[in-house]
């Protein structure tokens, strides 16, 4: 058993090593300024300083791409959460064919590859003569984010006591008061996980943004990196930025899962 466990652990760590090699590599070389790759010219925080002070034009563009990315993700996920929560409540109370139909269509944006979503929305905006820019990108992001909110909230609705909404009406709440005072507090957890999913989906997106941003010079991190790679040179300040993002995700996920770990420890003993 012991040998088996050792082999298993070795396999896991080997894969992890391969998975993380590029990230570690980038992190290490974020602390030097060598122009040619893999060259170590001494430890320095210069790239970090550049990134935050916008010393080079590249780093300023990178920072602005980061801001744009966050702004779009935040706006899109707020709207998606509102739209998706209302939709989930509606779908939960629908019956029969119309319910099946809307759930089917809700799945389409999740199954569709990004490029199809991007192309089809591009054609839509062209068809409607809608000039492309921030608004179209955000609309597009809402399109592929909302289904995740719907799917996060729906299970919470089926766990909820079916009479809760009616109890609120019965006690004199108007439908909108019942929504704010009872339904939304009850659905908080589902809405939050839907929001986080929507937010990460939006952060991760490249193709949809690429096709719907028009020609106003809008750059998100993804489109910036893509353009960078086409030019052939990697903006040096990307390295510290990737390192920071990686650490941030690591810390957030560890914090979120801390409770689970504690529980696990207890049960393991």
């Amino acid at each position: 058993m012991k040998a088996k466990k050792a082999v298993a652990q070795a396999y896991l760590w080997l894969i992890l090593l391969i998975l993380y090699a590029p990230i570690i590599f980038i992190a290490v070389f974020s602390f030097t300024t060598a122009k040619s790759l893999g060259n170590w010219t001494g430890f320095t925080f210069e790239l970090y300083r550049n990134l935050f002070t916008g010393a080079s034009s590249d780093s300023a563009a990178l920072m602005s791409a980061l801001k744009t990315t966050l702004l779009i993700a935040l706006t899109a996920s707020v709207f998606s959460t509102a739209l998706g929560t209302l939709a989930a409540i509606g779908i939960h109370n629908m019956r029969g064919r119309s319910k099946a139909a809307i759930q089917f269509v809700n799945n389409i944006p999740m199954l569709n590859p990004d490029i199809i979503t991007g192309v089809s929305l591009f054609l839509l905006f062209v068809f409607l003569h809608f000039s492309q820019g921030y608004v179209t990108v955000i609309l597009a992001h809402i399109t592929f984010c909302t289904p995740y909110v719907v799917l996060s909230v729906l299970p919470k609705l089926s766990q909820m006591n079916p009479n809760i909404y009616e109890a609120a009406l019965d006690l004199g709440a108007t439908p909108s008061q019942a929504l704010w005072k009872v339904l939304i507090p009850e659905l908080r957890a589902g809405m939050l996980s839907g929001f986080i999913l929507a937010f990460t989906m939006s952060l991760d997106d490249f193709a949809v943004t690429f096709f719907t941003r028009g020609a106003v010079g809008l750059e998100t991190l993804s489109t910036y990196i893509y353009a960078d790679s086409r030019k052939g040179g990697l903006t040096p300040e990307l390295k510290p930025m990737m390192t920071i993002i990686f650490l941030a995700v690591l810390v957030v996920l560890l914090l979120v899962n801390l409770n689970n770990f504690r529980k696990e420890k207890k049960t393991n003993r």
Binding site: N161, N163, I164, E166, A167, A168, L169, D170, L171, G172, A173, T174, P175, Q177, A178, K181, V182, P185, E186, R188
Partner: protein, 458 residues
Amino acid sequence: MKENDVIIDIQHVSKVYTGKKVLDDINLKIKKGEFVTLLGPSGCGKTTMLRILAGFLAPDEGVVLLDGKDISGTPAHRRPLNTVFQKYALFPHLDVYDNVAFGLKLKKVPEQEIAARVKKVLKLVSMSDYEDRDVDSLSGGQQQRIAIARAIVNQPEVLLLDEPLAALDLKMRKDMQIELKEMHQKLGITFIYVTHDQEEALTLSDTIVVMNEGRIQQIGTPTDIYNEPVNAFVADFIGESNILKGRMMRDYRVAFIKHEFDCVDAGFGEDVPVDVVVRPEDIYFTTDPAKCQFKATVNSCTFKGVHYEMWVDTDTGYELMIQDYDPYEVGTEVMLYIDPDDIQVMKKERRTNTYPARVVDEGKVEFLGTKFACDTAGFAEGDEVTASIRFEKVELLDNVEEAELVGNVVFILYMGNHYHLTVKLENGENIWVDTNDIWDKGDLVGIRIAAEDIVLQK
């Protein structure tokens, strides 16, 4: 009943759900301060009726009057009625105090008054020290009390209770029954209570409304309903009973289980088929041959706590249930009699299955959406006729594929020597069957009718 005593007046209310009539022309007047129970098996329409009163559903037809005013168009949140839900529906994100204060806060009642009223009502339900508790930390019975407190703190004119005790265990249920009854007396408001538990209904109610298949079967006091059920359904649903086929010989004389008895009923006519109900506690043992009306042999005897429940086979081949405080050994031959007072004679709802039909071809008739072979002599093609089939001539099959019609057994009545089944067909129509075979409620059955058993009439 004086008109101004009536608080709720339900007039001709009907409701259709996906093609099924769940409420069919309901008419009901409820007096101020009354404890009314809507009683019936699941799917009888009682909960639908309650939800229409609360305003969660709108009737398709008919109106509901509250204090003489039509409230059919008033949304739930503006009705002066409050509901206690089956699974309590307490708000899990609020503590006990905020749950109870919910309605008052919405009405913008001043804080101090809210605090006072919540305190008072929590005392009434004996939950005074629980104000700050999380509702999830309460037991089922405690949650139930909070649900009641949350409703009555708004001082509704009518309190609607939807199977409020169904989720509690037996002991708790009995205690809460007593408390509910006391609460009703203390508050003096109207209670409309929905349950499928006949014992609960008999214990609590001033008036019981027995419902089945979307229709009111009988309205009456608990004693009325128990002692004088109007039909076999009510008799079977309320308490234990022997329901038997009988024949009214003349006024005050009825025949069943192949014996004749004196009774107190009159006005049925002479030599008319009827149904007869005898409660198991109303069949008496005797050792006096002069009193004996019929003899029987005990075939089982079970102790039920207070009394013994015995099944006996009569000398004429019927099986009857008897309850008595003294047991008789299995195999004993006993002498029995029934008081005339205790024989409840009911008009027969139907004597045979009858359906409108059409002759479609020589030797073929169509009814219930299916074509049947039958003797059509004397009728021409296209004739509109009535087809009737005697209950015992309907054949039930396990194998649905070989059958002409398919349906579910929805109601079973033991008639002493055979079962009387109600089978609901796929198209929603009922067919009634007498059989000696044992079927269970819910069974999917095939139905076959032999050509010679279909009788056609103009």
